[in-house]
């Protein structure tokens, strides 16, 4: 047991950091664009740099590394609030397809050529028709208008759909906008009775979302610290005021806890640890709540400038809330954890 990054892992993180820092310079222009993300950035990161296939088996065209490496990339993408379908397409759709054996589209997703998004639905949205499955459902999906494939995710069923309606909507989360999507037709491919596989894949996706939230939270803290060192009021850098120092210390206590939770969960995923589902639930609610906390305090500690449109603080704040509903809420993960550790069954 050795709970530290290997030098290869550190290299992955550093590479990703540099790349996403480049992208961050044009964040405002990127999110103002039609799709809300930049396809050149997408191909560069997912395709050329190989971050799309980092955790994909070599047989499916990936690099054959694992969840720890993917998490390190997700952390860095979060640091830069990278606006892209990375979480839905790479971190969620790919593990869902691999877990359910519907791997046909995986190489194209991993290379970035195609983009997938996800829509949660009840199992009732799926009906057997002939040899296939008819899917009828509507709802919200991140970057739905830019996606080639829609994965409709039920509790035990999963369908891959390539014909669906998608209408972009002004969204709270400006860096991961939602589209209203609707499906009424035959699935390209589908599985039933895949409850455990779907649950495990979603746990993996939640860990990557958590990693992304961790990165964003760390960035919110870092930006707040920088500002507090520079902004002078009452003749002192505001970062010398104890009440503000303590708020930033609390942010750091939270980010370090979230980092422990995320890295632990990613490592547990890599090792197929029996405690992985627990670890995923913990990482998910901890990292999201940490981002909510840090984004909130980033605004507060920036004072008036912090609630202007021009300052990026609200982008973090909006991202935090978007993340809190994307793959289930923090409260839902805590309820899942309670079930996993036996708190809601009778006696022991």
């Amino acid at each position: 047991m050795q709970f530290a990054e290997t030098s290869e892992q550190t290299l992955v993180a550093e590479t990703a950091r540099g790349l996403f820092a480049d992208f961050a310079a044009t964040l405002r222009e990127t999110i103002a664009g039609a799709d809300g993300f930049d396809r050149a950035e997408w191909m560069r990161a997912v395709g050329e740099m190989g971050f799309g296939g980092i955790a994909v088996p070599e047989a499916l065209g990936g690099a054959g590394l694992g969840p720890v490496e993917l998490a390190l990339v997700a952390i860095e993408s979060g640091t830069a609030l990278w606006p892209s379908p990375f979480v839905p397409s790479i971190a969620t759709a790919i593990p869902l397809l691999i877990a359910t054996g519907l791997t046909e589209a995986v190489p194209a997703l991993a290379s970035g050529e195609r983009i997938a998004t996800i829509l949660f639905a009840g199992d009732a949205a799926f009906t057997r028709e002939g040899d296939g499955w008819r899917v009828q459902v509507e709802g919200l999906a991140p970057f739905g208008q830019a996606a080639d494939l829609l994965l409709v995710v039920g509790a035990t069923r999963l369908a891959v759909v390539s014909t669906f309606g998608a209408e972009p909507r002004l969204s709270l989360d400006l860096t991961r906008p939602l589209a209203a999507v609707s499906v009424d037709g035959m699935a390209d491919a589908a599985v039933a009775d895949a409850g455990p596989a779907i649950a495990d894949a979603l746990d993996r996706a939640r860990v990557m979302l958590a990693a992304e939230c961790l990165g964003a939270a760390e960035a919110a803290l870092a930006r707040t610290v920088d500002y507090a060192k520079q902004r002078v009021q009452f003749g002192r850098a505001i970062g010398s005021f104890q009440a503000l120092k303590h708020r930033m210390a609390d942010m750091m206590i939270a980010t370090e806890a979230a980092r422990s939770a995320v890295l632990y969960a990613a490592t547990a995923a890599a090792e197929g640890d029996a405690g992985f589902a627990e670890a995923a639930a913990i990482a998910h609610f901890t990292a999201i709540e940490t981002l909510q906390h840090c984004a909130r305090d980033q605004i507060q500690l920036h004072g008036g400038i912090g609630f202007t449109w021009e300052h990026d603080a609200h982008l973090f704040f909006r991202r935090a809330q978007g993340a809190a509903t994307l793959l289930g809420t923090p409260a839902a993960s805590r309820a899942r954890l309670a079930r996993l550790i036996g708190l809601d069954v009778e006696a022991a």
């Binding site: 002004l170 969204s171 709270l172 989360d173 209203a180 010398s240 008036g304 609630f307 909006r318």
Partner: protein, 387 residues
């Protein structure tokens, strides 16, 4: 202690309600339940003039200045009925609630005669010029300066967070009139015509997309020599007196707005089933209790002969409550509430509450500054050493 109202007060309530109902069902119907603080400025001016015509514009002011010398109970009743009727946010707010009482307390008789009637009649609108980019919480470090040039002050500098400036005729400005002075010394409280070549406005867009505030640039702006309130170099005392009047009865009107927000959240929770979650119900009950407590605190403060210590706690209390309400709104709304209607350019109410309430703990004195004030003025704790 008494909570109830006398029959006479209830008659006053009926009179107020009646007047509002008549007006807001008639020509002012478009203003009813208007959310925006700045939409329909022309209609709002008419509204203010109509209020003034029937003696409702400044009921708390002394009769000598056009008010009614209304009792506490009457002011409470008026504020509650005004909000209940869905009457529009008052474009005259800064003049009526802030500047008016300040002039009554600090201004010369000539100044009162010159400026109070225009506020009372709904003809003159005011903006506030305090904060500067480098003096947010720290008003002592203001840099905007005013120099006498013959019979006029010439003003150069920049103010920020000027609310309602687009619709105002005048702005009051805290400016440095003693060159080289520092801190709270050497400041004067000037009344300045807003519509003049030396003043430029630039809207500040907030995180919820709206632009309630402005930056105001002074570049050789001018005002008459006599438009200084409370004496040259005495601006700090006047400004602090002005801030103290913010305890006013207007908090009750604000609270009625909070009730409307709370009700909307409850309705949303019923509509989407969030109310079935015991944790949501618990937070709604807490929010409701907060409303009742804020009202009781306002009544305590308004009933007290001398401003009680509790008054210092009001801002943090409501601001924190409101910020929490915004988070509750979003948790109730869920993912479905994170998108606008098809084609819409603005977010729906829950998401807008989530975004707009975030500023509450910052504007009008951050929670941090408010806690300093409570600790030092109410609890008598020592000031921090200077840097």
């Amino acid at each position: 202690m008494r909570l109830g109202f006398t029959p006479e007060q209830e008659r006053f309530r009926a009179e107020v309600a009646d007047w509002l109902e008549t007006q807001l069902s008639g020509r002012f119907k478009p203003l009813r339940n208007l959310k925006s603080q700045s939409a329909m400025p022309e209609e709002r001016r008419d509204w203010e003039r109509a209020m003034a015509a029937d003696g409702w514009s400044v009921i708390g002011w002394p009769k000598a200045y056009g008010g009614r010398d209304a009792s506490l109970a009457e002011q409470v009743i008026f504020a509650e009925e005004y909000a209940r009727a869905g009457a529009p946010g008052r474009m005259s707010h800064i003049g009526v609630e802030l500047l008016g009482p300040t002039l009554i307390a600090f201004a010369s008789e000539e100044q009162k005669a010159r400026f109070l009637p225009g506020i009372a009649s709904g003809d003159d609108y005011w903006a506030q010029g305090y904060s500067e980019p480098n003096a947010g919480s720290d008003l002592g470090s203001l840099r905007t300066r005013a120099v006498l040039d013959g019979d006029e002050w010439v003003i150069d500098g920049q103010k920020i967070w000027t609310s309602l400036a687009r619709h105002a005729d005048w702005i009051f400005v805290l400016a440095r009139t003693e060159p080289g002075s520092r801190g709270s010394k050497g400041l004067s409280f000037l009344l300045v015509p807003l519509k003049q070549p030396g003043i430029t406005l630039r809207p500040i867009r907030q995180m919820n997309g709206e632009a309630e505030f402005n930056e105001t640039f002074f570049d050789g702006a001018r005002t008459a020599k006599e438009n200084v309130v409370g004496g040259v170099g005495n601006g700090w005392a006047v400004a602090m007196g002005l801030l103290a009047t913010e305890r006013g009865v207007s908090t009750l009107g604000q609270q009625m707005g909070f009730i409307a927000d709370y009700d909307a959240i409850v309705a949303a929770a019923r509509a989407n089933g969030a109310i079935d979650d015991p944790a949501i119900r618990d937070r709604l009950a807490r929010a409701y209790a907060g409303l009742k407590i804020m009202r009781a605190t306002a009544l305590r403060i308004l009933s007290a002969e001398q401003l009680p210590r509790a008054a210092l706690t009001q801002k943090v209390h409501w601001a924190s409550w409101y910020r929490d309400l915004g988070e509750l709104a979003m948790d109730v709304a869920g993912q479905t509430g994170e998108v606008a209607l098809p084609g819409a350019e603005t977010m729906p109410r829950m998401a807008d509450l989530f975004l707009s309430t975030r500023a509450a703990t910052i504007y009008g004195g951050t929670n941090q500054i408010q806690r300093n004030i409570i600790a030092e003025r109410a609890l008598g704790l020592p000031r921090e050493p200077k840097g």
